[in-house]
């Protein structure tokens, strides 16, 4: 393995991962809130936020799907060294990483089963811009309404309709991330 993959992980894994997880937890528990993470330097095109999520949440037990936008040798090597996660197709992935266009069609990802809705995919969607403008969000974690710049509205509405099944989403841009659980109601 080329030595280039070895850099860019957490310097202090326990504490850095604790900080990254808290940000990921707050983001998923409060859709519309944008959190900032740090501590990793993944190879392009992977953002810092997406890299931090992968290193914090993935290991040998979590198959990852890299969408064509992110399926590079450099990123594969980096993820393999830092997490040991195997790569797979979208149907069997616990995590999917890519741009929104590259991850389509998102209905390929596992929504879990009626008895185990937790056995569903988590998508990490890389965006060019992430802001609290755009689609209107309501539901668990949101006091009244929140806003978030979603890449699309219809797919998330369709995802909400099959609740408690569905995938959960992280939107990432640079070192910032936001969460969009399947429980959120989205309106254009």
């Amino acid at each position: 393995m080329a030595a280039v993959y070895l850099d860019g992980g957490f310097k202090d894994p326990a504490r850095d991962a604790a900080h990254a997880f808290r940000a990921a937890l707050q983001a998923m528990a409060r859709p519309g809130r944008i959190e900032t993470v740090a501590g990793v330097a993944p190879p392009a095109p992977c953002s810092v936020a997406a890299g931090a999520l992968l290193v914090t949440l993935c290991d040998t037990t979590t198959p990852i799907y890299l969408a064509p936008s992110h399926d590079t040798e450099g990123l594969r090597g980096w993820i393999t060294f830092h997490t040991g996660a195997p790569f797979t197709g979208p149907e069997h992935a616990m995590f999917g990483l890519g741009t929104w266009a590259a991850l389509a069609a998102v209905t390929r990802f596992s929504p879990g089963t009626a008895e185990y809705p937790d056995r569903s995919a988590t998508l990490i969607v890389e965006l060019g811009e992430l802001s609290t403008n755009g689609a209107t969000l309501s539901g668990p974690g949101i006091r009244t309404i929140a806003r978030l710049s979603l890449p699309e509205v219809a797919a998330f509405q369709q995802n909400r309709r099959r609740f408690p099944l569905g995938f959960d989403t992280y939107l990432t841009c640079g070192d910032r991330l936001a969460g969009l659980p399947r429980s959120t109601r989205v309106e254009g």
């Binding site: 326990a14 808290r22 569903s120 539901g139 668990p140 959960d168």
Partner: protein
């Protein structure tokens, strides 16, 4: 600094717990199975809560631990010391100063804020378990949203006792989808389940994690003609005179003399300090 990994658990275990917590947050009220670890304390002492707290802690957190509302009981003191030793975090008894509060069987009287996480220790996460012993069956019932049995149980309470006799661990409906056990908190605390704080539930022996995100709709089950009643003992606190807090009944001698005092020790101490300040 101790020789433990930060917050005791190894990183692989934390990742597994963290993934379960996130799925729990995404599906409010649904019990996510997780590979609960053996902890250096017996089952029933909060192993589930401890694992959830360990997965959520950051070095900057201030931790509060309560057992039935009290900061100074054995269970609370041991867990607080455990995290002081293994995570080197600040601890407090003041509800308002804490960023993570681990609790056994109470929700603090003071309204929690957006900056706080409440972690419950849960002995029996399955609200249907005493009605249906099979996990296969209860899982199917949750999948099909088949909660008739629970309503029959509440109805039988009314038929037998004239009221819904469940006083603690009172079942709730979360976001109109899952019936959930709020852990054995008194039903007095049920209205506080709709909170600005994130609430996480950990059951160690039963290997389940579930969550109620902030501002999630949580409704205590009832009937139109027998509405939910978050009752409490009809007394003021004997120490701070609070009329709106949950009370413990304390026997004070062999003659059966008793007094009612706040179960939330920090709430009670705060009120008494304020009253002394006014008197002085």
């Amino acid at each position: 600094m101790s020789d433990y990994n930060f917050a005791y658990l190894d990183e692989q275990t934390k990742r597994m717990i963290r993934r379960a917590i996130l799925k729990g947050v995404a599906v409010p009220g649904y019990q996510v199975p997780f590979a609960s670890r053996e902890m250096p304390m017996p089952y029933g002492w909060g192993t589930g809560g401890v694992q959830v707290t360990a997965a959520c802690l950051t070095p900057e957190d201030t931790l509060k631990v309560i057992d039935q509302g009290a900061d100074d009981t054995t269970n609370a003191v041991s867990i607080r010391k455990f995290f002081e030793k293994t995570a080197d975090v600040a601890v407090t008894e003041k509800t308002a100063e804490a960023t993570i509060i681990q609790t056994r069987h109470r929700i603090p009287e003071v309204t929690l804020t957006e900056d706080q996480i409440l972690v419950y220790q849960v002995p029996m996460p399955e609200p249907l378990r005493f009605l249906e012993p099979s996990e296969v069956e209860t899982r199917k019932m949750h999948a099909l949203q088949d909660y008739g049995l629970m309503h029959v149980k509440l109805y039988e309470d009314i038929a037998r006792h004239g009221e819904i006799a469940t006083a603690y661990s009172y079942p709730v409906m979360v976001e109109d989808r899952y019936v959930m056990s709020p852990s054995p908190i008194p039903k007095f605390d049920n209205p506080k389940l709709e909170s600005a704080a994130l609430q996480l539930f950990g059951a160690g022996r039963e290997q389940r994690i579930y969550a109620v995100p902030p501002f999630t709709k949580v409704v205590s089950l009832d009937f139109d003609d027998y509405p939910f009643d978050p009752s409490k003992a009809p007394h003021p606190c004997a120490l701070c005179a609070a009329e709106d807090s949950y009370l413990d009944e304390v026997i004070t001698d062999d003659q059966g003399t008793r007094m009612f005092v706040c179960s939330d020790t920090d709430f009670c101490a705060d009120r008494r300090a304020a009253q002394e300040g006014e008197a002085a």
